[in-house]
């Protein structure tokens, strides 16, 4: 009958709330001082997530829930496996 000569492949599920890179200046103790060029006024909370260490894709993150000088709340984390800072809704 009619063959499709090149229909786009079926869309696949995507992850929601993927981490996005963030520009973070950290102090000597590793806590953020600036996030996306805004000074950090308050670190509300800090926690660690170490998970999936038994797989090829381990997760080791140090999260900070911070309030910036504009009053905005942000959650950023330092990725201990890949390096670099990311922002994400926690």
């Amino acid at each position: 009958m009619v063959a499709d000569s090149g229909a786009p492949s079926a869309a696949r599920p995507a992850r929601l709330n993927e981490p996005r890179p963030a520009l973070v200046e950290a102090g000597f103790d590793g806590t953020p001082r600036e996030v996306d060029r805004q000074a950090v006024m308050l670190v509300r909370e800090e926690w660690r997530v170490v998970d999936r260490w038994w797989t090829d894709d381990p997760v080791s993150r140090r999260y900070f829930d911070v309030v910036l000088e504009s009053g905005e709340r942000r959650v950023v984390f330092r990725d201990g496996e890949r390096g670099g800072w990311f922002t994400q809704r926690a």
Partner: protein, 393 residues
């Protein structure tokens, strides 16, 4: 019994119908644009020069510098295949196409008409004529029928009786089984060369070593399961075509042409007021070659405007100006109208509007445009693992 008709290299044969002089020379189907540079089916002259289907293009040209590459023409191959299937249906065979170049049918219903299984196969081959070099096989099960057709010569019909199936399959090469290249290499590394050698192994050991694919191949090597032939319902042939005097790439002109095609196809008397479920839009490109897209509607309709909107998005995918454009109503719904309720249930209007809105968004933005959030691991400490965006198609 199950019969199989096989036409090896059908796409190349269809493409060569317009260039018959190439049939006797070394020629091969060119790689598809954007895919790996591997040659497709080859002519017997190319095969004699050492070129094999699936060979890398550079290697093939190195082996046979005079090799001529034939562009893929999916629309032409599709039409030619439809012609083959219809010819058999006209002879009374209820056919199940299994991809281009291969089809099955049950002989039980036509054996008395054509004087037995062999008579039915000969009739089928005669209906196709000699130009396609078709071959036929019949056996108790589909895979054995396919194997019989694969080893038959052009124009020959081979019937494998039930008790002979295992002996018939045993010496055949492993390449008949649907496995990927790495699996063939793995089996060859283990010293396996024939279907019979694989069939003699314990099924659990094959499944453990080769996984699900291997287990299926092992099952086929032992004759395969008794899957019934599911004949298709012959589709209505409602198609219209517009030829342009010169190449057209202007979207406004193409949309007008599409509007005309939609009106013409919907106006055909043989549609008998039935709604359309599936359509195919095709075009002949200016540099030769063809383009084709099919579209299945979520809800069958015969509204011109809806069809125009749904098909309009496909026009943007045209890779080059066109010299002709065609529209075919591939599948029609059985019903001719929709019964409306006297008293609509609460919320049904909002639901139908939402459904229609989603349908429109999907039609204009394509597959994956409308998604649902599905919680998969809400307890996870890793935020991105808690939910997925799943396309609602």
């Amino acid at each position: 019994m199950v019969a199989c008709i096989l036409i090896p290299g059908f796409e190349l044969r269809a493409a060569l119908r317009e260039r018959p002089r190439l049939a006797t020379r070394a020629a091969a189907l060119a790689p598809l644009p954007g895919s790996d540079p591997l040659v497709g089916c080859v002519t017997s002259a190319a095969e004699a020069a050492g070129v094999r289907p699936g060979m890398r293009l550079g290697e093939a040209l190195g082996m046979c510098p005079s090799l001529e590459l034939v562009e893929h023409d999916p629309a032409e191959a599709g039409q030619a295949w439809e012609g083959v299937v219809r010819r058999l249906e006209d002879e009374g065979f209820a056919v199940e196409p299994a991809g281009i170049g291969c089809l099955y049918f049950e002989t039980r219903g036509v054996e008395r008409l054509y004087g037995g299984v062999a008579g039915a196969l000969e009739r089928a081959l005669a209906a196709l004529g000699s130009s396609w070099d078709a071959r036929a096989g019949a056996a108790e099960r589909k895979f054995a029928a396919l194997a019989a057709a694969s080893v038959a010569r052009a124009g020959q019909a081979l019937v494998v009786e039930g008790e002979q199936t295992t002996d018939f399959l045993a010496p055949l090469p492993l390449s008949l089984l649907p496995l990927d290249e790495t699996r063939y290499a793995e089996l060859e590394g283990l010293g396996m060369k024939t279907v019979g050698q694989l069939a003699s192994l314990p099924g659990s050991a094959v499944a453990e070593r080769l996984g699900q694919d291997g287990r299926r191949a092992w099952s086929l090597a032992r004759g395969g399961d008794r899957r019934r032939v599911r004949p298709r319902r012959p589709p209505a042939e409602i198609a219209e075509r517009l030829e342009f005097g010169e190449a057209v790439g202007n979207e406004v002109t193409l949309r007008r042409a599409l509007g005309t095609l939609v009106e013409r196809t919907l106006g055909r008397a043989d549609r008998a007021d039935r709604a359309v479920r599936k359509l195919a839009l095709s075009a002949r490109l200016v540099g030769g070659g063809s383009w084709q897209r099919s579209l299945t509607l979520r809800e069958p309709t015969a509204e011109k405007e809806r069809l125009r909107v749904a098909l309009g998005t496909k026009l943007a995918e045209l890779p080059a100006p066109v010299t002709a454009i065609g529209l075919e109503l591939v599948e029609l719904a059985e019903w001719t109208g929709q019964q409306l309720e006297l008293v609509r249930p609460e919320g049904s209007r909002a639901r139908s509007r939402l459904k229609e809105g989603l349908r429109q968004a999907r039609a204009s933005a394509g597959t994956g445009a409308v998604c649902t959030v599905v919680e998969v691991a809400p307890w996870s400490r890793i935020p991105e693992r808690r939910a997925l965006l799943v396309p609602r198609d």
